[in-house]
């Protein structure tokens, strides 16, 4: 039965249909593996055995009745703890929501439940998704399955680690500035940040609403694509979600028909030489297979990180205003006292409920949005965002996909960057441009430096996820 770890969605599906294994056995097998691996990893904040068993029994009943199963039925899946699963605690990695129990399902969760996916648990995240390592989680960091002294990446680090360690087959994460692609890269798996609007955000605890997207993490490009196809499409509960063009399917393509752009700006100062070598080797493999590789330029990419943090902090400071200590959280100590004002209560509950990075961003966002600074920061950032989007549009007139590193560095040691916020922000320098432009990005394993994985980032025009899957599968074949 151990041979089930690392097998694909389609293989599990076949075993279920052939009755080689029951969904209940699958749930038990993976739950006991979770128990074992969690001693080291801390990928999960909450494990949900009752829900998983209940779902498994429903699937086994269908099999018994001879009903056909959806492809995702019985597939063990983890959900980032910023996405609501009805009846389950949803903390967003924060003390502020320590006791919050979701009263409804996120649309993505609803869609997975309808397919019969086994929801195994809620995974660790940086508090309110603010971070690149899960060290900002109020419940402690997730460890990298490839090296327990190192971070798994973030903010969806729990989801990435759980897939990499075979605790689940697939997982959902959220990506605001790289929060799916970075941990996928650090954990050596596949992760997709979809086009903005491709997947409903209803039931996702918001960080920065113009950037946030939910997306899949998996061991292979094929599994990632299967999960994405179950998630995508318009949702009446999210008015920024759109109908996804259904005629765009990935298919086998000849590398000789492929034009790959390599952005000059992605290979400058800050890129670790060992990472650069792995990425260049990956590009050489495409070239050897016959793809046309050319250098392109994204002139505004070097400004993307500064633009991103202004927009992210500004939107976060507005989104997190709802955590006022009245609607969520604990009562604090002051509320019973006389002569205590509403302001005192706000200050106390928000001061105690939020961790340092969340406070930092709220304060910075409030600063950037305040009178006198609004134009210098927020408006200017939005204007450079326009220029960056145009950079990508111009590049995609010449090439089909853009290829580069996901992260400038290897998975770093726990504690290495947490004391210096700017050094942590810089880890996102190659992922944030994709969120700012609203386009899709896929992280796939490119190779290793010793035992540490390095991810290759593939970037395509909006609603061209099929191209990313096509090229990702091509790379799996040629590497």
């Amino acid at each position: 039965m151990d041979s089930l770890f690392g097998v694909s969605i389609k293989q599990i599906h076949e075993k279920l249909e052939q009755r080689e294994i029951s969904a209940l056995e699958l749930a038990q097998l993976f739950l006991s593996h979770i128990q074992e691996r969690e001693k080291d990893l801390h990928a999960f904040i909450t494990i949900m055995p009752e829900l998983a068993f209940q779902q498994a029994k429903e699937i086994d009943k269908k099999v018994k009745e001879g009903q056909s199963l959806p492809l995702l039925a019985g597939i063990p899946c983890a959900i980032k703890d910023s996405i609501l699963v009805k009846g389950a605690r949803c903390t967003a990695g924060s003390h502020m929501l320590e006791d919050y129990v979701a009263p409804y399902n996120a649309t993505v969760v609803q869609r997975l439940r309808e397919q019969g996916v086994l929801l195994m648990g809620k995974t660790n995240t940086d508090e309110f998704s603010m971070g690149s390592s899960t060290e900002n989680s109020a419940f402690g960091p997730t460890r990298n399955p490839h090296d327990l002294s190192r971070v798994a990446g973030g903010s969806s680090g729990g989801s990435a680690a759980s897939v990499a360690a075979d605790e689940v087959v697939v997982a959902l994460g959220g990506d605001t500035g790289g929060s799916i692609r970075l941990p996928a890269s650090f954990c050596g798996i596949v992760g997709l940040k979809p086009t903005y609007g491709a997947v409903s955000r209803y039931g996702l605890i918001a960080l920065a609403s113009s950037l946030d997207q939910i997306g899949p993490l998996a061991k292979t490009v094929e599994d990632c694509e299967i999960l994405f196809n179950a998630l995508k499409g318009r949702d009446p509960f999210d008015s920024t979600s759109v109908d996804f063009p259904s005629n765009l399917q990935s298919r086998n393509c000849d590398p000789q028909d492929l034009r790959i752009g390599v952005p000059r700006e992605y290979f400058k100062e800050g890129l670790m030489p060992q990472v650069e070598q792995v990425i260049k080797n990956a590009i050489a493999k495409f070239e050897a297979a016959g793809a046309k590789v050319e250098e392109i330029t994204l002139p505004h990419a070097p400004y993307a990180l500064a633009v991103y943090y202004i927009i992210n902090s500004s939107e976060a400071s507005a989104n997190l205003a709802r955590y006022d200590g009245m609607r969520y959280g604990t009562a604090g100590t002051k509320h019973q006292m006389p002569n205590v004002s509403l302001l005192d209560i706000y200050l106390e509950r928000r001061g105690e409920g939020f961790g340092p990075e969340v406070k930092r961003r709220i304060v910075f966002g409030a600063y950037a949005l305040s009178a006198g600074y609004y134009d210098a920061y927020y408006t200017k950032a939005q204007k450079i965002r326009t220029l960056l989007k145009q950079d990508f549009e111009q590049a995609f007139q010449k090439v089909d996909v853009i290829v580069g590193p996901v992260s400038p560095v290897l998975p770093f040691k726990i504690g290495e960057k947490i004391e210096n916020p700017l050094s942590m922000y810089l880890v996102d320098m190659y992922t944030v441009p994709v969120n700012l432009a609203g386009i899709p990005g896929l992280s796939i394993p490119a190779g290793n430096v010793q035992n540490l994985p390095v991810g290759l980032q593939l970037i395509a025009p909006a609603f061209s996820e099929h191209l990313l899957f096509q090229v990702g599968k091509m790379f799996e074949k040629i590497s």
């Binding site: 006791d99 129990v101 009263p103 409804y104 086009t195 903005y196 609007g197 113009s210 008015s239 920024t240 505004h300 400004y303 500064a306 943090y309 400071s317 205003a321 006022d324 200590g325 009245m326 609607r327 969520y328 959280g329 604990t330 009562a331 509320h335 205590v340 004002s341 509403l342 209560i345 200050l347 928000r350 001061g351 340092p356 406070k359 930092r360 709220i362 304060v363 966002g365 409030a366 600063y367 305040s370 009178a371 006198g372 600074y373 920061y377 408006t379 200017k380 939005q382 204007k383 450079i384 965002r385 326009t386 220029l387 989007k389 916020p421 700017l422 700012l436 432009a437 609203g438 909006a462």
Partner: protein, 113 residues
């Protein structure tokens, strides 16, 4: 914010020109309704100054005739009839139950004035 002055550095990466004052940090934290300890104010003063200093690279970009981007993909207004819909009482109860203090089906808060 009118009383606070702020001067940008000329170049990023040479000297930290941008300095935010402790009073500024305290003032903004209060506007954002976040209590900071004295140590946190000092830490934030240093960290925010460092981040603001990094942001001065944006001064290199000419945006004179550029429109700000508010939506990365094309969006349209999504409208529906403004009809009241009945909420599931169980959900309502659960939502209320999440609040630290309630009374008679309402959230209990301190008086504003």
């Amino acid at each position: 914010m009118g009383g606070f002055q702020f001067s940008h550095g000329k170049m990023y990466g040479i000297v930290a020109h941008t300095m935010i004052t402790k009073e500024e940090v305290q003032h903004i934290a209060k506007l954002a309704r976040i209590q900071l300890s004295r140590e946190q104010v000092e830490k934030f003063q240093k960290e925010l100054s460092q981040v603001l200093d990094y942001f001065t690279i944006l001064q290199e970009v000419d945006v004179l005739s550029v429109e700000p981007l508010t939506h990365s993909i094309e969006v349209k207004n999504v409208l529906r009839e403004d009809e009241p819909r009945k909420a599931d009482p169980e959900v309502v109860q659960k939502l209320l139950g999440m609040a630290p203090e309630q009374k008679d089906g309402f959230l209990k808060v301190k008086s504003v004035f």
